[in-house]
């Protein structure tokens, strides 16, 4: 039997105004287990806490009930008070008689009556409380960043800056992500490479950062503070430590007809390649799909010209195992495929391009060395039509587009239009839009400059059809403001394609047990208050993998994610939440119901030996909960058909006792 103390707070007149606190303290004296009951003006004050501490010692209390304000206010306070007096902090229950009683009721008699019942419920619960101790686990002081775009780079740099080692895993042969492909960046129009490549170099040279390029995460086990990750280093047939990045092999390779993905297929590269001049690591990679040597054993030119002896045609995929305390997901985004948008003739005409292709066409390092030329005939286009929201905000076209706003397209289209008019004042530039959304800092001013200073024709309305005819593109569109149909003969059409999360994000989320929304963007632990944490402890989010973002927002989030990681890695030990599920192995029948509903993958099964009443030994498959991973939601307790799963601190019998006390 517990020895329970009850402490009724007046909260000045906040509670005492509507609840007869003395009557409550008096009434609760006779409840089972209660050996002491009192009231005081302010229980949370030093004097009030002293009353509690003294009573615990004097009456040898094993549990206490504080009838006061919401546990969200002072549960921690009273737990500490109890602990200071030698009581387990989880032997404290709060009865919320302020927010949920005195403040919402006016009648003294009824308020008092309710407060007594709420007190009884808390007493009934604390009678069944057991001391709980949070589990402790050590923290591996190393972070993993998955994805090496601007988000991943910034997060890694910030973590390294605080002195912790970080690894970046990037699927491509180089870090840099989409930003490396951009030309100039809104709203300031500084060149993307000029602000990105120094960061790439910093990451490459930092003694705290290791870059696993051309690599993928293939397995994740463990939990916050203690992740075990397997990284697959794909064979690039070049020894990274020997390659100097001189580029001779990429000039001599006879296989010249490989579509260059960095320029989105608008020109070709060799079978051995370095994606771009500022790549980090600056190491060549052999594309096994095109290399004649790897396919037929005849060639070997690169190996002959490489003075460093870096080529290794026998290289195999390598698996590296490493431990991490925290994982940051920064897998970014991709423009959606235009295959299903027949009305825009993307697949019929080379002169219908996406905005990312436009970035490459205007980039000095791109396929046209920065000259704006039509892909079909390399002529300078005089009339350019930009189409916004291609596949974005598409509520009724879920099979080809996205319901959400891709957020960045209004701004980059304004940028493209403005830069075109700036460099080629003889071009006519039209932008078709549903709305122009420019809520960032200096964004609206930027858009207005495009219209007012640069004379870009913004037309509210959607393009209905684009038909290639001879060497022009017949654009049919509606002008919603003047309520008329418009026909434009364009030389080039640029589609602002919606963006979507990288395809690899979904399997990665499953590996990490991190949750995603219906669009496969990673979800945050709380949309407002915990925007860079995933609901899975120890997994953090950075950049466009969490939702469409421009660079300023990406960098801000990258820094925020880094600071969360640093906060975690700075700890030597992690204290868990002791209110976790546990399974009664004698009752568990190994059905997996609990495992299926667990959002965290906290439940595992193992075969255990049980001594049966007839002295035989039976081996049964039973569930066990990893307390460091369990977050204590209780989903499993309800799913369990045999009643083997229960939740500490919110046990079945405790909740039933509360129900009984209230309904008596």
């Amino acid at each position: 039997m517990q020895r329970i103390g009850v402490f009724v707070c007046w909260c000045g007149s906040n509670i005492a105004g509507t609840v007869d606190v003395k009557a409550v303290a008096e009434a609760l004296k006779n409840e089972p287990g209660v050996v002491f009951s009192t009231d005081y003006q302010y229980m949370c004050s030093q004097a009030g806490q002293d009353i509690i501490k003294n009573a615990i010692k004097e009456h040898n209390l094993s549990g206490i009930v504080v009838c006061s304000c919401s546990p969200r206010m002072h549960e921690q306070t009273f737990r500490k008070t109890a602990q200071a007096a030698g009581l387990n902090p989880y032997m404290v229950e709060i009865s919320n008689i302020r927010e949920q009683c005195s403040w919402v009721h006016k009648d003294m008699e009824k308020g008092t009556e309710k407060a007594i019942i709420l007190g009884k419920a808390a007493i009934a619960k604390v009678n069944l409380n057991a001391p709980l101790t949070p589990g402790e686990s050590p923290v591996t002081k190393r972070a993993l960043v998955i994805g090496g775009g601007i988000a991943g780079i910034q997060t890694a740099l910030d973590i390294a800056d605080a002195g912790f080692p970080v690894d970046i895993v990037e699927t491509k042969p180089t870090i840099g992500g989409k930003m490396a492909q951009l030309d100039k960046t809104f709203p300031t129009l500084d060149c993307a490479a000029c602000i990105l490549t120094p960061k790439m170099v910093d990451a490459g040279q930092s003694d705290k950062i290791r870059i696993f390029s051309y690599s993928e995460v293939s397995q994740v086990k463990g939990f916050v503070g203690n992740f075990d990750v397997t990284i697959k280093k794909k064979a690039r047939y070049v020894k990274e430590d020997l390659c100097t990045g001189c580029g001779l092999c990429t000039e001599k390779c006879p296989q010249k007809k490989v579509p260059n993905e960095f320029n989105l297929g608008m020109d070709n590269r060799r079978a051995i390649y370095i994606p771009f001049a500022q790549a980090v690591p600056k190491v060549a990679t052999i594309d096994a799909d095109y290399c004649t040597m790897l396919k037929s054993g005849k060639c070997g030119v690169c190996s002959k010209v490489c003075t460093a002896g870096a080529i290794d045609y026998t290289q195999k995929d390598e698996y590296i195992e490493e431990k991490y305390g925290a994982i940051v997901v920064a897998t970014g985004y991709n423009p959606i495929s235009m295959d299903k948008f027949d009305e825009y003739a993307y697949n019929q005409s080379k002169d219908v391009i996406t905005s990312l292709e436009f970035e490459r066409l205007t980039n000095a390092a791109g396929p046209t060395a920065g000259k704006l030329l039509r892909p079909s005939d390399n002529k300078h286009p005089h009339t350019i039509v930009f189409v916004q929201c291609v596949g974005s905000r598409c509520a009724n076209c879920a099979e080809k587009g996205k319901e959400y706003c891709s957020k960045i397209c209004c701004m980059y289209t304004a940028k493209h239009a403005m830069l075109t008019r700036d460099k080629y004042p003889d071009t006519d530039v039209y932008v078709f839009y549903i709305d122009v959304r420019t809520p960032g800092k200096s964004f609206d001013e930027f858009y207005r400059r495009a219209v007012e200073e640069y004379g870009v024709h913004y037309i509210k309305g959607m393009v209905g059809k684009i038909a290639p005819e001879g060497d022009v593109l017949k654009v049919q569109a509606s002008d919603l403001i003047n309520n008329k149909q418009i026909h434009i003969d364009a030389d080039l059409v640029v589609l602002a394609a919606a963006i979507e999360p990288d395809k690899s994000a979904r399997p990665l989320a499953t590996m990490l047990t991190a949750s995603m929304d219906t669009n496969d963007f990673f979800t945050e632990a709380h949309p407002k208050l915990r925007p860079v944490e995933s609901p899975t402890a120890g997994v953090f989010l950075s950049g466009a993998c969490q939702g469409p973002k421009d660079i300023p927002e990406t960098v801000a989030q990258a820094g925020a994610a880094a600071s969360k990681v640093i906060g975690l890695l700075a700890k030597d030990k992690l204290m868990g939440n002791p209110c976790v599920a546990h399974s009664n192995e004698l009752m568990c029948n190994g059905c997996s119901s609990c495992e299926r509903v667990c959002p965290y993958g906290a439940i595992t099964y193992s075969d255990k030996e049980f001594r049966m009443p007839d002295r035989t030994v039976a081996i049964r498959r039973v569930a066990s909960v990893n307390e460091a991973v369990c977050q204590g939601c209780g989903a499993c307790t309800v799913a369990c058909p045999s009643g083997a799963m229960d939740l500490k601190g919110f046990a079945n019998n405790q909740i039933v006792a509360e129900v009984d006390a209230i309904c008596k």
């Binding site: 919401s70 927010e99 919402v104 949750s515 989903a635 309800v638 039933v656």
Partner: protein, 145 residues
């Protein structure tokens, strides 16, 4: 429950810790009144509510039971309220067979910012349950005082 000859339905409200319990607190902060006979039980997540708890409440004399959780998509544990929604629609669909009008139970999404919604929901639910009268069917007379 009869008070001075007047029927006041006894309502048990299960509130998840992260949204709805905080919503109830906000109703308190804003002094938004609702009937005294609504009694809140805190659970970590709406998915912690075992259908058994609801039946137990009815058995012990509750006239209505309401489960409040975070809005879909906002559950602190990601998917808990989806489990709740499914489990409860299953339970509710069977209540009529037990002789309990299914209108005596309800699932509502109340966020931490919706104090007004919490109070309004409690007022409205109490009224709806009051209209149904006392819950007698499942009450186990042996358990009564």
């Amino acid at each position: 429950m009869q008070i001075n000859g007047e029927f006041k339905p006894l309502i048990v409200a299960f509130c998840c810790n992260w949204c709805s319990y905080a919503g109830a607190d906000l109703a308190g902060n804003n002094r938004l009144a609702y009937p005294e006979n609504v009694k809140i039980i805190k659970v970590p997540c709406s998915c912690r509510v075992n259908p058994m708890f609801i039946l137990r409440a009815f058995q012990r004399g509750a006239d209505g039971v309401i489960i409040c959780g975070c809005h879909p998509g906002d559950c602190h544990y990601t998917s808990g309220n989806y489990y709740t929604r499914r489990r409860m629609s299953l339970l509710f669909s069977m209540l009529n067979f037990l002789g309990i009008e299914k209108e005596r139970t309800r699932v509502e999404w109340v966020s931490a910012a919706e104090g007004a919604k919490f109070a309004a929901t409690m007022n409205e639910f109490t009224e709806a349950v009051a209209a149904l009268g006392e819950n007698k069917r499942l009450e186990d007379l042996r358990c009564k005082r």
